[in-house]
Amino acid sequence: MEAMMDNTSTPLGPEGQFWAHLRDGRLMIQHSRSTGQFVFYPRLIAPGSGADDLEFVEVSGAGTVYSTTTIRRPAKHGGDHNVCVVDLDEGVRMLSRMVGCAPDEVHIGMRVQAAIEPVDFGTHANSEQPIVLFRPALCVSETSS
């Protein structure tokens, strides 16, 4: 794994590097050159193979919903929201939330596109740190055309 520092010259571990790349607007996933394996979440060595040549590579962000649920919440507690698990085309699985469509419009097998966005929930709520969300693949192409 390549050394990487943040802007105050603090060394970043695997997870820190992942977040730093997102701050730069890039979805980077670890890849082992020797085994061809993609790895998520970020680790020092690859699970199973133990490969120690993991390096971050930029991925397309294209994926498919493996499973999904709508968490039902009263409006005063933020209303319903989606939670999903997405298989990136590179072969890693990520927990996330779908945005850009109603939570219950998300379905298994749906093609989706990663979006790096600030959020108002979880660890990085209302912070400078964006996280990986997903949007329907069609919506992304429509908005970019």
Partner: protein
């Protein structure tokens, strides 16, 4: 292969305490209350205990806290923490310790004031679940259920059958929290909490304590209760967090149950009664499939038509389970207790006549760790 551990320990006493709602009680109070019941049931003294297994949601060093509270200085202790399945793993650990001569009499204990405390204590959320504000463990199970429905056509009605069967068993248990009649229509009409799971697809949130006394077969035979023999036990863990579950429709039960059955020398056809950790209705369907009671994908049809309810062909969760009996955060120990009650012929109105072999099965985190135990009456050893 004959295992050297088959029949090498026995449950000599069981106890529960403060089930449902226990105002003013701490987790350790509830654990101690259950321990007092279990030693009275076994007919032993607290000072006879020289080994401790256990854990709670609120203690980082549980066997130290348990030993100190009870005034026991254990010769051996184990707090293997795999979630709700921990306490079944403890049964295997205790069997090994007793067989190795490290101790003679092990307390396996649990207590939780979850309902009063309203939180999961030191239960830590993985980094990439915290990032998404995941209200664990509900969403993970909901997505496993959704995937099972997608791949196999499992229906909400079939999942509801699990809740209805649990309620019918609970109605036969005087200590069960939920006693009101329940229909499939009631489950379908209950509010959705995380699609496709409704409120009545989810286990209870209870206070309560549970305790089991494990000792050598020789000592157990000298005590006042019919010994319940350890015949086999095995665990398997494949993941910790939801995104790392390799297959949302197959649990590590598919790996550990065959190992447990091999140790016990049984097949599923030999099981007279089955106690499964039913955190959610889908769990029962997937565990029955993974144990081999039916093929993968056929669990929904298998549980339908009252097959696992009172009077059905396969008695499952005869105490009412986590869905209707009690669920103080981690339920695993209650599967052992109900299995023991059935094998001792002590289960009252819900007794399965002539029950000789019971399966007790615990689940930890989100289908992360599974542990299958096989217990038997005197006729099996």
């Amino acid at each position: 292969m004959t295992s050297t551990l088959r029949g090498k320990s026995a449950i000599a006493g069981v106890g529960t305490f403060g089930l449902g709602r226990a105002p003013g009680m701490s987790a350790m109070d509830l654990l101690a209350g259950a321990t007092a019941k279990a030693i009275a049931d076994a007919g032993i003294k607290l000072s006879d205990i020289d080994g401790i297994c256990g854990g709670t949601l609120y203690h980082m060093f549980p066997t130290l806290s348990i030993g100190e509270y009870l005034g026991i200085r254990p010769k051996w202790a184990c707090s293997d923490m795999t979630g709700g399945s921990s306490f079944l793993s403890h049964l295997l650990q205790a069997t090994m310790a007793i067989e190795a001569g490290l101790c003679t009499t092990v307390l396996i204990a649990y207590g939780s004031n979850l309902k009063q405390a309203g939180n999961f204590g030191i239960f830590d959320l993985p980094v990439f679940e915290k990032v998404y504000g995941l209200a664990s463990p509900l969403p993970g199970y909901a997505m496993c259920a959704a995937r099972h429905m997608y791949e196999f056509g499992t229906t909400r009605e079939q999942m509801a059958e699990v809740a209805v069967a649990a309620r019918q068993w609970a109605q036969l248990h005087p200590d069960a929290t939920m006693q009101a009649p329940l229909s499939v229509a009631d489950v379908l009409a209950s509010p959705m909490v995380a699609d496709p799971l409704s409120r009545l697809d989810c286990c209870l949130m209870s206070d309560g304590g549970a305790a089991v006394i494990v000792t050598s077969p020789e000592r157990a035979r000298a005590l006042q209760r019919p010994p319940v023999y350890f015949l086999g036990g095995a665990g398997a863990s494949w993941s910790r967090e939801v995104s790392q579950i390799p297959d949302f429709t197959t649990t590590p039960t598919a790996e550990c149950a065959p190992r447990a059955f091999e140790m016990a020398g049984i097949t599923v056809a030999d099981a007279d009664v089955v106690q499964l950790y039913d955190a959610f209705t889908i769990n029962v369907i997937m565990f029955l499939e993974d144990m081999g009671f039916c093929k993968k994908g056929e669990g929904g049809a298998f549980v339908s038509g009252g097959r696992i309810a009172p009077g059905g062909a396969l008695p499952v969760n005869t105490n009412g389970g986590g869905l209707s009996f009690a669920h103080p955060g981690m339920y695993g120990l209650f599967t052992l207790i109900e299995a023991a009650e059935q094998l001792r012929g002590n289960a009252g109105a819900r007794q399965i006549a002539g029950a000789e072999i019971a399966i007790a099965h615990g689940n930890g985190c989100t289908f992360s760790h599974e542990f299958t135990a096989v217990l038997g009456s005197a006729s099996t050893v």
